[in-house]
């Protein structure tokens, strides 16, 4: 199966099960979880099912294109199912069958791997899914994002596209993966790996990245004060990437890391809180109108005050919606 067919197959599989096939976010991110389609959509009571490919930048993992398994930029296929249906595991295993990984032939296991993103103030419980000892998917039930308790819970599935394609195509080197009949992954991606490794490890000027970080943080705060949550969140993503780049450059020490992570988390948290408020103001528009109005009413009753209030408000809104769960869209 060519890499692009893998993406087509998974997209179609999840579209048929009720997912919106979203597109990648056009800001540098380290993981699909940063995509607003995940980080922001998991908040509050609105159902949301989406699948998308996201290019992820992990500057520290760059190896100048010399390591067959490790790169500084790669693709994730991410699925978010909110609320998580009771049979997510079955759906997921069907998706593996769809791309040709049959549990009758392979040893598929769910091995504990709780997920936490200190920069996003987010955590969840779940597994890494192993296929013959290889981690092929990160599977997480989100419990909190931006410091807000998540109800309903979202199941997030993150497929490692390159790894799965290496396995399916029987190649030992990521760069040998066939993207389609004519073009390999290496032909498309190798020069990027070489140049960006050189940039991140040798050429990146820390003073510029530090300055960028500061100005992104300033913009994030300023925009939040103006009620522009979505642009503010973009600056949160950008500062996170600036941090990752500095980290790869070796410009941030172990303890300074904590401070930077704390600053990004502060932004993510503020964005999350403002986002829930903004959705409440709009009447939680992904809900049917009448139910959205109920949710808004419940939110306003509790949550319009300080930040603790947003969390309580989001839970109250979700509880107002929960009794209508049967009427709402869900994946499956």
């Amino acid at each position: 199966m060519y890499l692009q067919d893998f993406i087509f197959t998974l997209s179609k599989f999840w579209a048929e099960r009720g997912c919106v096939v979203e597109q990648p976010v056009d800001v540098e991110v380290g993981a699909g979880t940063f995509h607003p389609a995940t980080f922001l959509r998991v908040l509050g009571p609105e159902p949301w099912n989406a699948a998308f490919v996201q290019f992820c930048r992990r500057p520290a993992d760059g190896r100048y294109g010399e390591n067959p398994n490790r790169v500084g930029g790669y693709y994730q296929f991410q699925v978010g199912l909110k609320p998580s249906p009771l049979h997510v595991q079955d759906l997921y295993l069907d998706s593996l069958r769809a791309v040709g990984l049959d549990p009758a032939t392979h040893d598929i296991r769910f091995v504990e791997d709780d997920w936490e993103s200190p920069t996003l103030g987010a955590w969840g419980l779940g597994w890494e899914v192993w296929c013959d000892g290889m981690e092929v998917t990160q599977y997480t039930y989100f419990q909190q994002a931006g410091g807000i308790d998540l109800m309903p819970a979202t199941a997030e599935l993150t497929y490692g596209i390159e790894r799965l394609c290496m396995y399916l195509q029987g190649v030992d080197n990521m760069f040998d993966v066939k993207w389609d009949k004519h073009v390999t992954y290496g032909q498309l991606r190798h020069p990027w790996e070489v140049e960006f490794s050189k940039y991140h490890f040798e050429e990146l000027k820390p003073e510029i990245a530090f300055r960028n970080f500061d100005s992104y943080e300033g913009e994030c705060q300023r925009l939040l004060e103006r009620g522009l949550v979505l642009p503010a969140y973009e600056f949160c993503m950008k500062s996170s990437h600036a941090f990752n780049s500095l980290d790869a450059r070796g410009a941030i020490s172990v303890t300074e890391r904590q401070r930077f992570i704390g600053r990004v988390r502060g932004m993510a948290r503020a964005c999350a809180h403002e986002y829930v408020k903004s959705r409440a103001r709009l009447g939680f528009p992904l809900l049917p109108k009448a139910i959205g109005a109920k949710a808004k009413e419940a939110f306003d009753g509790v949550g319009s005050s300080d930040s603790g209030g947003v969390n309580a408000g989001a839970l109250a809104a979700a509880r107002a919606v929960a009794s209508h769960a049967e009427e709402l869209p869900h994946a499956g």
Partner: protein, 694 residues
């Protein structure tokens, strides 16, 4: 008639370690609930796999016994009027308990003054069937998971989403609803090998029914199966599986139906230190390492699948591919690392921040290494210790440790040997991280112990100086663990003077790098509390530890001897000596200056009790002299114990009033007590020795 109970919670894959703990705790939890419900049973057994937790109770009574009980009501004076007629309160109490007013009994009640009305009640026992739904729901909801979660819209929390419930008592379904599910008799077989629902007829059919559905639900049976599979792989490959009980304990909970496979890797990777290979296999892949007859690591591994597949060779190849990638990484790192010297790494560490808050002149690992060398010098460390201190952290800059943090120190040892730094230095580099956890090995050489101590002391003093001390359960820099390590090493080495010198040296080094120290009290308390914890873990009663440590904790060997000696002081003696100490404290509280030697000329109490005490103390002090010189505190306290009757007589029978209105007599008596108690109270603070726990 008693019958068997089966309760199964079907779940998405429970993490291996949490499953082990839950299975261990479950029997006691259910026994507690059954006991509280006045039910009897003959045995309780917990079973489980990653996808299910089950408990089987055999011989469970089918009903509670009837209960005859006495309910205590209001005092008779409230229940009955003066003329003997019953009051409103009395009527209410009788009605509430379903007894006629004239059936109320009047009696005295233990622990209460006066006479109360008591209702004698007969409660008919409930049927077990009726009690089970609530009881089982409580058991399920009460399993203490370290982390639990919500799923979907559910309000229930559990370790992972709950998928089904089976509850059978005497073969009948228990009507139980929980977590949005209703219990039945349908369970599930193996996810891939027996994907259909299976009916469980009764508790005694459970294990076999699951076995037929490719689920080995008994963890012990699974352990046997894994061992048998490993043995099979040993026979097939001709290599031994390197024993790893911790890994085995985890592996048995990674699947419902373990099937062993073995794979290999390119022998060229064996040039990489074995620890890296084993670590990569174990922590990342849960593979067992294999070795030849001489115990040398073989280029093979053994692992368990969680299912039967069409062709195990396919799965083995997949696993080999994953491992090859990991080992390729490891080998690359090892090769790259060997192109660098320890001084190259140290140069790199000068740019790596250890603790930013220490300020620009002290914050990097390079700065820390300077301090380590300084501390080791201040404590008179050998040339080996000094050189090792300089290179103790170098391997942190290596690729191998960057990739596998758990081999820090271990790689330093390998690289030090390869670089010709010598075995002694290599050992210190490795062991200065020891102990690595509770009950883990301690450094085996004086040099390693010294560097280990210096490193931890520097971290602790530095963090406290910049306000990063632990608070509550938060200890992000592991300072508590570090302090415990310091005490364990000092006790193990029998080093009595090092603590104070280490602290002094660490402070000097930090100050030299521009760090401003803060109040030393919190740090004292922090160290004292850690030593206290160690003593208590060693079985020393908390109050004995407190009494000894209140005086001085800096010499842990001496403090432990003093704490242990407290066992020689009887409960009665504790009360007496505590009283002495309290009297002196009260006097000081009244601003009375206590001091000087007691003057026998001023002894005036009847029966010569003061003289007797004075003489007894003098005799005791002479007798204790050699024990004191030898720090034989137990012998000192044995001698003190003998003084108890004389001291007690001073207070009790003689009735000496210490706080005599005549200040001269008063001060002399206080001086007597002070003179008596001081040599003992420097061993243990009697004010902290309550009698009860002795």
């Amino acid at each position: 008639m008693p019958a068997d109970l089966l309760f199964e919670i079907g779940c998405e894959e429970v993490p291996a370690k949490m499953l082990a703990k839950a299975l261990a705790d479950l029997p006691a939890a259910i026994e507690q609930k059954l006991g509280a419900a006045r039910l009897t049973w003959s045995s309780v057994r917990a079973l489980g796999t990653p996808r299910r937790l089950a408990v089987i109770v055999k011989g469970l009574a089918d009903r509670q016994p009837d209960l005859d009980e006495e309910v205590v009501g209001p005092p008779v004076s409230a229940a009955f009027a003066a003329d003997g007629s019953i009051t409103k309160a009395g009527q209410g109490f009788a009605a509430k308990n379903g007894v006629a007013p004239d059936a109320l009994v009047k009696k005295e009640v233990a622990g209460k003054k006066g006479v109360y009305v008591v209702a004698k009640r007969h409660v008919t026992g409930n049927e077990t069937r009726a009690l089970l739904p609530d009881l089982l729901r409580d058991v399920a909801a009460g399993i203490p998971w370290p982390k639990s979660m919500r799923w979907g819209w559910s309000e229930t929390t559990f370790v992972r989403p709950v998928q089904w419930l089976v509850a059978l008592f005497g073969g009948e379904v228990v009507p139980l609803a929980w977590a949005g599910l209703t219990a039945g008799r349908k369970s599930r077989g193996h996810r891939f090998l027996s994907p259909n629902w299976i009916e469980i007829a009764s508790a005694d059919k459970y294990v076999d029914a699951l076995r037929d559905a490719h689920v080995v639900v008994d963890p012990d049976a699974r352990r046997d199966l894994v061992r048998a599979e490993l043995a099979r792989l040993e026979t097939e490959t001709g290599f031994r599986v390197r024993p790893d009980e911790a890994l085995l304990a985890e592996v048995i909970h990674l699947g419902e139906y373990p099937v062993g496979i073995s794979g290999g890797f390119d022998p060229a990777y064996l040039e990489v230190p074995a620890e890296i290979i084993v670590t990569a296999m174990r922590t990342h892949q849960r593979y067992f390492a294999m070795e030849d007859a001489q115990g040398k690591l073989a280029p093979r591994f053994a692992t368990m699948m969680a299912t039967i597949v069409k062709d195990p060779a396919v799965v083995a190849r997949g696993n080999e591919t994953v491992l090859a990638a990991r080992l390729a990484d490891a080998k690359f790192f090892f090769t790259e690392d060997r192109k660098k010297s320890f001084d190259d790494w140290n140069a790199k560490l000068e740019g790596v921040v250890f603790q930013a808050k220490l300020g620009d002149a002290a914050k990097t690992i390079g700065h820390k290494v300077q301090r380590l060398v300084g501390i080791v010098e201040a404590l008179g460390g050998s040339p080996v210790a000094k050189q090792a201190a300089r290179y103790a952290k170098s391997d942190l800059a290596s690729h191998a440790v960057g990739e596998f943090p758990e081999v820090q120190g271990i790689m330093g040892r390998h690289y030090a040997k390869l670089a010709g730094l010598g075995d002694e230095v290599a050992t210190v580099i490795d062991q200065h991280w020891w102990p690595k956890g509770q009950g883990a090995a301690l450094p085996t050489t004086d040099e390693a112990a010294l560097v280990a101590l210096a490193d931890r002391m520097d971290t602790i003093v530095g963090c406290f100086a910049v306000g990063l001390e632990p608070s509550g359960s938060a200890d992000p820099f592991g300072l508590r663990r570090a302090a415990i390590g310091i005490w364990q090493i000092l006790l193990d080495r029998g080093w009595t003077q090092h603590y104070a010198r280490l602290r002094q040296a660490a402070e000097t080094q930090l100050v030299a790098q521009g760090v401003a120290l803060t109040d030393s009290k919190p740090l004292d308390e922090f160290f004292r509390a850690r030593l206290r914890g160690i003593f208590i873990d060693q079985g020393i009663p908390a109050q004995d530890a407190d009494a000894a440590l209140a005086q001085d904790f800096r010499d842990p060997v001496d403090a432990r001897a003093r704490a242990l000696a407290c066992a020689k002081i009887s409960k009665e003696a504790r009360e007496v000596f505590k009283r002495v100490a309290n009297i002196l404290d009260d006097a000081r509280g009244k601003k009375i200056v206590i001091g000087g030697n007691p003057d026998p000329a001023l002894f005036a109490a009847p029966d010569n009790v003061e003289h007797k005490l004075y003489a007894a103390i003098k005799t005791a002090q002479d007798a204790e002299r050699s024990a004191r010189d030898k720090r034989d505190y137990a012998a000192v306290f044995e001698s003190l114990e003998k003084l108890r009757p004389t001291v007690a007589a001073f207070f009790d029978k003689g009735g000496v009033m210490v706080m005599d209105p005549d200040p001269k007599l008063r001060d002399n008596r206080l001086a007597l007590l002070h003179w008596f108690i001081t040599p003992y109270i420097t061993i243990a603070d009697f004010r902290l020795l309550a009698g009860a726990a002795a």
